[in-house]
Symmetry: D3
Subunit: 223 residues, 6 copies
């Protein structure tokens, strides 16, 4: 089994971090290959960033879909996920969708720890699109700056507030760039801390093993 | 006052029909200019169609924003509307959003008459994004084929069923291509029948006159 | 075009303030006439105030409907709005409904700034009746007293808290008496600040120009 | 204990029918007195009917509140119920609210059987105001005409459809005029069939015995 | 009339306190008998506590249903209430359901004062199961320890915060053990403070008098 | 890795069918062991059936938790799932929860095909508890009788109606007894047809591999 992981941005360091997390989780039982998106901006923050990533993401799907079994979109705002589900017959899993839906199976409510205040409304809109408002404790931002997406301390502080003030029981890392922080945070917080890349690999590898993919009945039917 | 109407597809006939409706409504009190989107497909049906329209739509905004007072996006699925709201300081109004929100002011529930069954889930997702589920009676499709987007009879039949079987009180035309059918349908049905282009012009011209535009607080703030 | 604005209370100062805002917005392009409600209390705070305003409001509608093109109800709690929509074939727009629904087109969430704590539950009930809970950031009260409905400072303070603490992106002035404060507040806050009177005029004049009015299918059908 | 039952309309026959049901249920354990509303129309169908009933209903409350222990509003659309709750310190119970909330304790979903199609949207709006959408199976109308509000057959037919087609498990009689039909319908349908007058008496007499009434914290605080 | 009150735990002191409250309310007009549950834990806090109480509760129902007219389940988390409704043809009322639904008839929003933080999510899940989220101001915990379930001061402090900070208008005592505190709290707080035992008796005695019980249409039909 | 599958009923044939499906999916990559529940009824239909299964299910968890890595509850009504999550530190996955949440990632709306009409309300209550109402197209019953839980034709007919009349895009098999039907149904229907046992194994094995389990913060914390 081979899983294609699309990093919707073009940052090589984040691509490498995602690949490292994925390889560690796969542990040789299945193949993972992470691709940065050609033509995409180095970080996906705005609607325009997402739109700019779309053509390269579609190209990656079409280039690789014949020799992969499932596709993961590895940006926590799930940019262009509907498009990805539409254009391929392989299962497609977003790390935002996978991590937040798994979170609902592990505790009463979850909080998402995002990078910046400005992303909170967009995350709330995503939560609504997935019908998850009722399971959301809060979206909190570290506001540590996009350059510091891998730093542990701001995530720890925001997560503690989510657990104590917002009644969260599960923490979701709200940026692919936070990949790798889950273990240390979980050890400190004593609740599940979910890395979206791993959550998406759980679902994607499971669907591929099962042999089911996106329904083409109506919503995701290409022309 | 001048309002730019972006037709997200590239079809000249639909562009002309939209312009005609807009000019008739404006009646010389404000200027309207409808532009087809360069590089877009001739009809927007799929997520890929919408993604393909995005670069040309952004180009149109940037080309015209200095000399227009408001922008209308004239496809009823409101493709790339969040992107449009983000990249300009001028007010931006989608014909889907405007027509469905005005419909809630005119009766208990509204039905949207769409072109094809396959678009129903997407319209439902849009309705949810706008928090309008509670005001929706139904989405019904004419299934008359995308080539027949200007024919009256299939709309009339679907609208009658919406009024009688789904308890709709207001009808929303769910395709920019249906522009111009509102008068005849309203005369036959005796309830408000809303053309999205006109609804969007009402809001867009009003906001321009008022001097307010999209909040740049967080969600629609460009980088 | 002529628009009748019903001030549901009987206060001449507030009536004059509403008329001034309306005239400024209309700028001679359409006629506006604001009428205080005979027999109504000087300020609408309670359910009993609203009930006491009903007969006079209905009288105003019947007196003026033949020579006006649309009707605006200019109290932000939209008293007797369903009744107004039922008894006339002209379009009827409440300043609460218009301002809150326009707010949803201008940003992720809006806050309403009301006069008194006691009005917060009633405003929440109105927000629910309009299916707007999902777009509401908060209702905050200035608690400056009903006599001080035109003072700017308490609105500014409450709005700042709404933007910073409640994640609002748009501010709605929750009392017709606050009419005229929008410009100064918007200049200070850098987000849209909506005056309900103007919002209702946008919709009412647009519907009148379009030639559509309340559906008489069922909910608003008079006997 | 004495309970005032306000019939919001002025029809003596319906007033007598309500009184009869109430007396039978009270069985001498508490006193009931049903008053028709002076100045109200003979049947409450429209928003205007409800507005016309308001002054007389308020007068009845003020006339009787000193010598009664609780007040029931006996029209299933609960006209002016917020006003009634506001103006008196005695507990006030609407037959719509009481019957629909008790119904949620007796089965998975309930259906309301109303008199006419035109009342369905208003009943839905009431259901929403009470946060009961999730427990509602359907609102069905007998369409037997307002003159035939006491006939059994149309209720039976509509209720059967609600049970079989809409998955209702409890039937709520949606008009005070249907009082007295509950026993026969329940015998035929083998599910609970709720008469609003009795449901309201259960709650009103219980609250009076308990000694609690409407909170005057904010929403229902008179000036 | 005779009402069986099942205390789902096995604590004799709490059983006696419940019986005392019930007898005082019944005032000799109907008979009440409170039974502790054989085999149940002394306090119901966890899902396992609830499961352990189920067999004894079912036994109590079967032992007493022939000679009682209605059954009350007197633990505010309503443990095994669906089971109770299923296995008997007598009306069954939970004190959680009864108190929270009555609260919605007495003010805009209610707060539940629970014993411990750990019970807040479970109470929220119960509130959701009853479709009451929209009427809930907050769940607050006294955190006074399960041994101190009858102490007044922590309830008073939590209730004051609920009224002032969460905009509650009605207080619901969230533990059967708090029975008897309602009068003193209501005198201090000047809003309705609801004891679940009394609320359930209001509904249970009313349903018994009316002669209606749980629908056996589908959800609560035994095999 | 070893996964314990608890069949909440005591039927050996269904236990064997579940084990067969699980073994086929695991394909030797992880160990699966399905245990029937001692003391449970042969089929779980009622709330009493579920209550009767609870002690045996808890015993199975405690007997096996030391030598298994995750636990699956293999009845589609997820009986006693909250209890299971509370009493063990191993991840616990219900086949109802897993299949319905995976379904939301594969299409716009899903339908559940259940065994009997009487189970529809209970399934709807489960869907609500999981916040999945917005993704549900319908619950349909085969009504083929509980003895015929493995027959294909009634599932096919109900699923076709769900796809055509209810706009479902994904089918969820609503009974563990239907295990093994997914392939044939999927081949006939051309949309994803989900077997809950496999869906739960995907999640359970993934969580075990990841090393995360139920949060013990509050809701699922044992005493």
């Amino acid at each position: 089994m081979k899983i294609l992981i699309i990093n919707p941005n073009s940052d090589p360091a984040m691509t490498a971090a995602i690949q490292k997390t994925a390889e560690t989780f796969a542990a040789g039982d299945f193949e993972v290959i992470t691709e940065a998106t050609p033509g995409a901006p180095p970080f996906i923050e705005t609607y325009e960033d997402a739109a700019r990533a779309a053509p390269g993401m579609a190209d990656l799907v079409r280039l690789h879909e014949c020799d992969c079994d499932a596709i993961v979109v590895a940006c926590h705002c799930d940019p262009n996920l509907d498009l990805m589900k539409e254009i391929t017959s392989k299962p497609v899993v977003g790390i935002g969708e996978a991590s937040m839906k798994l979170a609902t199976m592990l505790g009463h409510r979850f909080s998402v720890i995002s990078v910046a205040d400005r992303s909170i409304p967009n995350k709330e809109a995503l939560v609504r699109a997935y019908h998850l408002e009722g399971s959301l404790a809060s979206v909190r931002a570290t506001n540590a700056g996009s350059g510091a997406w891998g730093a542990e301390a701001p995530y720890l502080e925001a997560a503690r507030k989510a657990l104590q003030e917002d009644m969260a029981e599960v923490i979701v890392l709200g940026c692919a760039g936070a990949t790798g922080l889950d273990r240390a945070l979980q050890a400190a917080l004593h609740v599940p801390v979910l890395d979206g890349v791993i959550c998406a690999l759980i679902i994607a590898s499971g669907l591929a093993r099962y042999g089911v993919a996106t329904s083409k009945a109506r919503r995701y039917c290409p022309k």
